[in-house]
């Protein structure tokens, strides 16, 4: 076994061992922007600006919490074959289609779906893409558990959050010089019929679900605002943010100004 072979070449070795205890981190800070309903392109422009500002240390880690009007998006791989209707038909149903630089496949965003776009520095928290995405999955799993819904992370190749074989949360991320953009989408109670026009996340024959559907259509959920805040709290807890500032940015435009 290869592990044993290393120890045989004793004379060629120079080895050093040191115990470095977990360093005491300073407080991790993040600013949460509560944004309400935002057009997809506006949100994209804002993320580009914030990513650039974060790279140059003009701002600290920032999290956008918002919703989109009916919008279909594709990732960097441009998997157009997973959009089952023409762009004209999408327009006719009042939806937009956008091509993005994020990872992941086709998805839908709409009212009653929480979107979180973290603009954070992965290098500052010593995290790579895989661990970051796992933490995003854990964030949604934790939120679902608050409502007694047992969700799980997807298997290999099926990144996202599932309840049984039904997808409740989607992830699509971009990492540029260690700064994240795009993020996650969690279904509270969106119109699931929109998902029929795509192969969601490129995974055929799998249903899309929502928190409302999983708790039972007869059960009343708290207001969306409450659920947004809960999801953000799950995020800050899982990512270890101790200094959290909330900003009401419902009137902010794409250049970041109110």
């Amino acid at each position: 076994m290869k592990k044993c072979r290393i120890s045989l070449y004793g004379s060629c070795f120079r080895h050093f061992l040191f115990i470095s205890p977990q360093e005491m981190r300073g407080p991790r800070s993040i600013e949460i922007w509560k944004m309400g309903a935002v057009n997809y392109l506006e949100a994209l422009k804002l993320q580009e600006k914030l990513t650039s500002d974060r790279k140059t240390h003009k701002i600290k880690d920032t999290l956008l919490s918002l919703q989109h009007p009916p919008t279909f998006t594709l990732g960097k791989r441009r998997t157009v074959h997973n959009v089952l209707v023409s762009e004209a038909e999408l327009k006719a149903m009042g939806a937009e289609l956008h091509y993005t630089e994020r990872g992941g496949d086709a998805t839908f965003h709409g009212p009653r779906q929480v979107i979180l776009y973290p603009i954070i520095s992965l290098r500052d928290i010593g995290t790579g893409a895989r661990k970051y995405v796992e933490n995003l999955e854990s964030t949604m799993i934790e939120l679902a558990s608050l409502y007694g819904v047992k969700a799980r992370a997807g298997e290999t190749g099926e990144t996202g959050v599932w309840v049984g074989q039904r997808k409740i949360g989607a992830i699509g991320v971009r990492i540029s010089s260690g700064i994240t953009s795009h993020g996650l989408a969690f279904n509270i109670d969106p119109d699931l019929n929109y998902f029929k026009h795509i192969v969601p996340c490129g995974i055929p024959d799998k249903e899309v679900t929502s928190l409302q559907k999983e708790v039972g259509l007869g059960q009343k959920l708290p207001s969306e605002q409450v659920i947004h805040e809960q999801l953000v709290s799950c995020f800050t807890k899982i990512f270890g943010y101790t200094d959290v500032t909330w900003r009401d940015k419902t009137s902010v435009s794409s250049d970041g100004n109110e």
Partner: protein, 188 residues
């Protein structure tokens, strides 16, 4: 060449989930954060990271230079080969897509020239050197997983004709890169 392939294979083979304490000290002392560096035949370092009960071992090759965004470069005269490190591919997860630049396009040190996608995340890949892309690894279109299984050999990404070698002093040598990885992992 075969030895460096061995090193990365060994590194990924040894990346197993074991209780940290059992492996290193056999005592009850928590040893998360233990790092061990080993040089083998003077050709590469294996850096062992123990964290949250995961033991991971990353290979760092001794004849390469490294950027702080976890890309490596092998310089041979006027030309350079670029890829991402073992540390980078492990932190990315399974690569499903590699966006390659056009042959003939220019790259600039520190600037993005392409991207890799894994676990629904696209991560920019930055060039450690400036110059002109003379060849891209077309095998990555059909087999993006080569970046994971052979990050220093078959998973190379681009070959560059160097503008000049003034970029090279900015890059890290293997020992410095290993310490850089240790520092980054410790800040989790």
């Amino acid at each position: 060449m075969a030895r460096s392939l061995w090193a990365t294979r060994a590194a990924s083979y040894l990346r197993i989930n074991v209780p940290c304490r059992g492996f290193a000290t056999g005592s009850d002392l928590p040893i998360c954060g233990t790092r061990v560096g080993v040089t083998f035949h003077g050709m590469y370092l294996l850096y062992v990271n123990c964290e949250n009960n995961f033991l991971s071992i990353h290979a760092v090759l001794k004849d390469l230079k490294y950027a702080d965004s976890h890309e490596w470069v092998r310089v041979e005269g006027e030309s350079a080969t670029v890829g991402i490190t073992d540390h980078a591919q492990d932190h990315l997860g399974e690569v499903v897509y590699v966006e390659l630049p056009e042959e003939g396009s220019k790259v600039e040190q520190g600037a993005s020239f392409g991207a890799v996608e894994s676990v629904k995340a696209t991560s920019d890949v930055n060039s450690p050197v400036s110059g002109k892309v003379v060849e891209v690894n077309k095998k990555l279109s059909d087999s993006p997983g080569l970046v994971n299984s052979s990050p220093y050999e078959d998973g190379w990404i681009i070959k560059v004709e160097l503008e000049d070698d003034s970029d090279l002093p900015c890059l890290m040598d293997p020992e410095r890169y290993t310490k850089f990885c240790e520092k980054e992992d410790a800040s989790r």
